[in-house]
Amino acid sequence: MRLLLWWGGRALVSAATLLGVSILIFAAVRMMPGGFAETVLGPFATADQKAALAEQYGLDQPIPAQYWHWLSAVVTGDFGTSMISRTPVADELGARLPVTAELTLIAIAVALLAGVPLGVLTAVRARPGGGGAAGRLLSGLGVSVPEFVLAALTVFLFSRYALGLRAGGHVPFGEDPAGNLRSMILPALVLSIFALSATARTTRDAVLNVLVEPYVTAAVARGERPSSIVLHHVLRNAAAPVVTLTATIAAYLLGGALIVEYAFNLPGIGSFIVQAITRRDYAVVQAGVLLAAAVFIVMNMLVDLAVGLIDPRLGTEAGGK
């Protein structure tokens, strides 16, 4: 019961956060200089044409009224109409979401599947005093190469020397699953490098922390096999920080995806939002950012849930922050 109550509170707080995001993004979009009219109508448009457009999209209303209309529509699932494509924003978001989702999911999978073992390995093998320098440097390098550098280099190298992979362009999964994978592998790898290094670093720290715990020493004293110690004691107890990190990474990847989508010409959410910002397509920017924020907030709740399951002592406390 207490837990249920706690989750109710958590959901309320999340909703409040989302409301805050909606206000902030709405205000930011309206504060951008350069009107939608100049952008979508061009310099030759007459005052009448501009006024007609403003009326069509409700932009002649006072800002608070606009916000209220927008918010009440969003609650019913109506994200408005794009001024550029003149189609419902929800349709295009729906078409683009799978691309970004696939990109980030592959990246997270790679980060966890490679990062966790790498972290455990470097922690278990770490000798006191040095030895870790090479690993630290390597994972440090991973978090130090910005996506835009890595993406540009990868696109350039793989467009000349393809090696069976595709650098740039998107193949829908429904059309050609193998082609889809070939086109997603490179951007997902570029996107995952940071997350991978970060996961490895966090795992290593977490494992090092656990290794000095008395129950591990006790297990060693009991003569348990090292692999069994890692599996039964270390991983379970080191999991919480790694799971917590996954939420941070997911949020980070949504942003990183934007650069990668741009460089690899993938029709995802990120490139959609950027283009909408540059063209003042208000409804699209608002919907895109709200969606990204919602994903982030839900991820955080899921992580709290997962951490609570792994280690009941931590669950509610971690969420309270």
Binding site: V13, A16, T17, L18, G20, V21, L24, I25, A28, V29, M31, M32, P33, G130, A133, R136, L137, G140, L141, V143, S144, V145, P146, E147, F148, V149, A152, L153, F156, A198, R201, T202, D205, N209, L245, T248, A251, Y252, L254, G255, G256, L258, I259, Y262, G270, I273, V274, I277, T278, G288, V289, A292, A293, F296, I297, K321
Partner: protein
């Protein structure tokens, strides 16, 4: 601080040394020896040679002074931004952590809202609202780095608030500024220093990302990000345009991260470690 540096391991000290070298390089243009970074000095896209050590760019400007200017711009911009972040985060973090209650709730909700924006989108929005240029890049870095640092400072401050020596100071009638200044601030300083180094590397990345999308510093001023953004169009025609600034950028971020790791090992207890 000196003690802290002495206690660093070799790798972190190497990182610090690299940073110092970069700072020195950034100071070279002040001597006037490097040449005018904006002057069209020779033919376009000249490879590195005796006349132009790092070659020339697509406008025939010497790359050497441009890279030096770029180091300065990037370092100055990101450290100024991190200083602002540190001040704001320490203020709000300490207040929220020490006071708790409604203040804490309000600060944390605001931070949460900012945190929910993907970093680069937040940066692009700031650049769009303010118009591209240094002030916008600075503001973008600040907004992107504030949430995490505020959270961690709050955590550290909340941890200190419950300690016996703080309680006894409050009981013995010490005023709030004194309690904060004498007991709380010194205990969150480590967190701020460590997070500051990470924020610095995030700042460099954000500035670079903005420039990559054409929203960074104003031409003709060079930053590492703007040089790389310009250079990526010339990976074949003039690879020296991207290799120089690219290498410097990676070295800068790497040095900062490695130094930050060392600092963290020295200053922070393991439990409050954070990653990015």
């Amino acid at each position: 601080m000196r003690k802290a540096i002495r206690g660093l391991d070799r790798l972190s000290r190497a990182g610090l040394a690299c940073l110092l070298v970069l700072v020195l390089l950034a100071l070279v243009p002040l001597t006037g020896l490097a040449g005018d970074p904006d002057e069209i000095a020779g033919p376009r896209l000249q490879p590195p040679g005796p006349e132009f050590w790092m070659g020339t760019d697509n406008l025939g400007r010497a790359m050497l002074p441009r890279v030096l200017e770029g180091i300065g711009t990037t370092l100055l911009l990101s450290s100024a931004a991190v200083a602002v972040t540190a001040a704001v985060s320490t203020g709000f973090g300490v207040l929220a952590g020490y006071r708790g209650g409604a203040v804490n709730g309000l600060v944390m909700r605001l931070v949460e809202v900012l945190y929910a924006f993907p970093a680069i989108i937040l940066a692009i929005l700031v650049a769009a609202v303010m118009g591209p240029g240094r002030p916008a890049a600075l503001a973008a870095i600040v907004l992107v780095t504030i949430p995490l640092m505020t959270r961690l400072v709050r955590g550290a401050a909340a941890g200190v608030a419950g300690r016996d020596y703080v309680t006894s100071a409050v009981i013995s009638g010490a005023r709030l500024p004194r309690v904060l200044g004498r007991h709380v601030l010194p205990n969150v300083a480590g967190t701020v220093a460590v997070q500051g180094t990470y924020a610095l590397s995030v700042g460099i990345t954000v500035e670079g990302g903005l420039s990559f999308l054409g929203l960074g510093v104003q031409p003709p001023q060079a930053s590492l990000g703007s040089l790389i953004a310009e250079g990526t169009g010339y990976l074949v025609a003039a690879p020296w345009l991207v290799s120089g600034p690219g290498a410097v950028l990676v070295v800068a971020i790497l040095s900062i991260n490695v130094f930050g790791d060392g600092l963290r090992d020295r200053l922070e207890p393991r439990e409050t470690r954070s990653l990015v």
